[in-house]
Subunit: 352 residues, 2 copies
């Protein structure tokens, strides 16, 4: 099995810590290591080094080669530009198909938190088995523990369970729901969290792509030839329409299964998510770096030795870097991107 | 008339901008000049340079000599250490009495906002006249415009008005009141704001000090001899018990008058006060430096090019320096000193 870590995201939701040249996957958000390194290490525990790939943006190629240990330089796939997940996965599939067109490949986000290695490894093997035996696309679903409005959901068909393989056909993918919808999802018991991990045989995937994304499929065929003859494919890549794998393929195909897993998972999609997974004091305050909270509860202070005092406030996130500070109500963490939009409009490249 | 600007305060309420080595009076809080420079310039408009003095802490002597224009170096009086206002004014009186023991001296805070120069100058002349003709201590009271809970008040006796001089005997001094008390003060119409400006003849003041603060008076006599013979008085100064002029003298003497003035005045006693006096946008947000407010009203951002984004919050003050950030609810600005106390306890000299 070949593993591809998708590490091309920009992570504006972690501004001011995340920047264009240092997106979320290259930040030490929850510990002493970058999210990408943690992800590499997780996969290296159960796969050979030769089998672990990173797919990323061209401009992050150098920094990833320099900073990330345990991945072969030739296994870092650089996209000429970001085109969302479908072209990214397509390009990775081309690279791996050169070695073995019938190999199983797994796709992994670079920046999610996963706790419970045994359950994770078990899920990979389980999904791999389903992918091979069913010649199908397979996703890993996480048993939800609360009605999250921050995650996407997968609805499965409990009546069509493949008993022998302990797998379910996927009925629908659902975007981040409102709270009431999320509560309904949990109640109905046939919804799982979408962990963004996909497993399939390369030939099966490329076949599916040909059916549901014929234009991309054709472009990839041309790129395959260019790669073979060691020519640039930048001109073809430029023409590709950005599309997510979810929207472009997974939501359209009928040949997709989900397996249930129960490793602890969090997509760390916002500062709130980081606050949620880290240990806090009794008063709910969390100070990573220098700081103090006076008369306040459930605040999250993070910085790299930029002392921060929060006085008389609750439920506030305060993130400081050398040149910028974000102060955001926990109810509004999704709006951090609006601050980034402001900086884009003002052409403040120094802060982006 | 000799003017003494009291510039020895530490101004912890303006942390993180104010530091031990750069207290409020040396900050450019409301414009392009330091509060102390603004105060010097105000007095220089109506008094000779020779008549303007600054009283300050020894450790601020050098920086004040370097940064403040328009004051003679010999007119900067350095206290060996801070002993609150009574010893400070006493020491200043000794210095000026060497020139003229019957001169009128005025005492001025270094860091208040005053708008309306004509009314200010008129008040000085008026107070000076009362001080000379009555041989009394005189304070300037500001006609209140709202029930402030941030200012001290002076209650005068309307029945004993000295018509000829348009002056009133002081009945009581009242500390910062609670809101209901402040409202009562305003309603009763015989309360004025205490602007902390005092005017009196030096001989009258020293006589009053002898009566109400005999210990300090005696210590000052000894210091006078040391100064005369150009010897250090640090040993005597060390023994002095810190005391405010309000508590030590003004609240005890019967020989004190207040005159009413109506220049626009604000003690700039907190970040809220600064916010109040500066022009704001329609949504109530005030950004001094780099920053943006997303979905919020009545916020105050101040920094020196440390970009600050406030998202989804109202009524918050965010002050950033190179090494620290303060985030405080406007209702809690008085508690900023608790953050400073925390830093003292942690021996964070770098941030104090």
């Amino acid at each position: 099995m070949y593993c591809v870590i998708m590490a091309g995201g920009s992570g504006t939701r972690f501004w001011p810590m995340s920047r264009q040249a240092q997106p979320k996957q290259l930040l030490k958000i929850i510990g002493d290591q970058t999210m990408l390194q943690i992800t590499v290490d997780r996969l290296s525990k159960c796969k050979k080094t030769e089998a672990v790939y990173i797919s990323t943006r061209k401009d992050l190629n150098t920094v990833i080669k320099k900073e990330i240990k345990g991945v072969l330089p030739k296994n870092i796939i650089a996209e000429p530009s970001g085109k969302n997940t479908a072209p990214c996965i397509g390009l990775s599939a081309l690279h791996i198909s050169k070695i073995d067109n019938e190999a199983v490949m797994g796709i992994f986000p670079a920046d999610h938190l996963i706790v419970g290695h045994r359950a994770f490894e078990k899920a990979l093997n389980h999904a791999s088995k389903v992918a091979v035996e069913r010649e199908a696309l397979v996703t890993i679903g996480i048993q939800p523990t609360f009605p999250s409005t921050a995650y996407g959901y997968i609805q499965y068909d409990p009546d069509k369970k493949v008993d022998k393989l302990d797998a379910y056909p996927v009925r629908t993918f659902a975007e981040k729901p409102h709270l009431n919808t999320a509560k309904r999802f949990i109640k109905s018991k046939d919804f799982l969290w979408n962990a963004g991990i996909f497993i399939w045989k390369i030939d099966v995937f490329l076949e599916e792509l040909g059916q549901h994304m014929p234009e991309l499929s054709e472009q990839l065929q041309k790129i395959r030839k260019r790669i073979k003859s060691r020519k640039s494919f930048a001109d073809i890549w430029t023409e590709i329409v950005p599309e997510s794998i979810d929207y472009g393929l997974l939501e359209k195909t009928k040949n997709i299964y989900v397996i249930k897993s129960d490793f602890r998972w969090n997509d760390l999609g916002s500062w709130n998510a980081v606050y949620d997974v880290l240990p806090k004091r009794k008063d709910g305050n969390l100070v990573k770096g220098g700081g103090v909270v006076i008369d306040g509860n459930n605040n999250f202070i993070q910085n790299n030795d930029h002392f921060t005092a929060v006085v008389g406030l609750d439920n506030v996130v305060v993130i400081s870097t050398e040149d910028a500070t974000l102060v955001v109500n926990k109810d509004n963490v999704e709006d951090v991107r609006k601050a980034v939009d402001f900086l884009i409009e003002k052409e403040r490249q120094d802060l982006l």
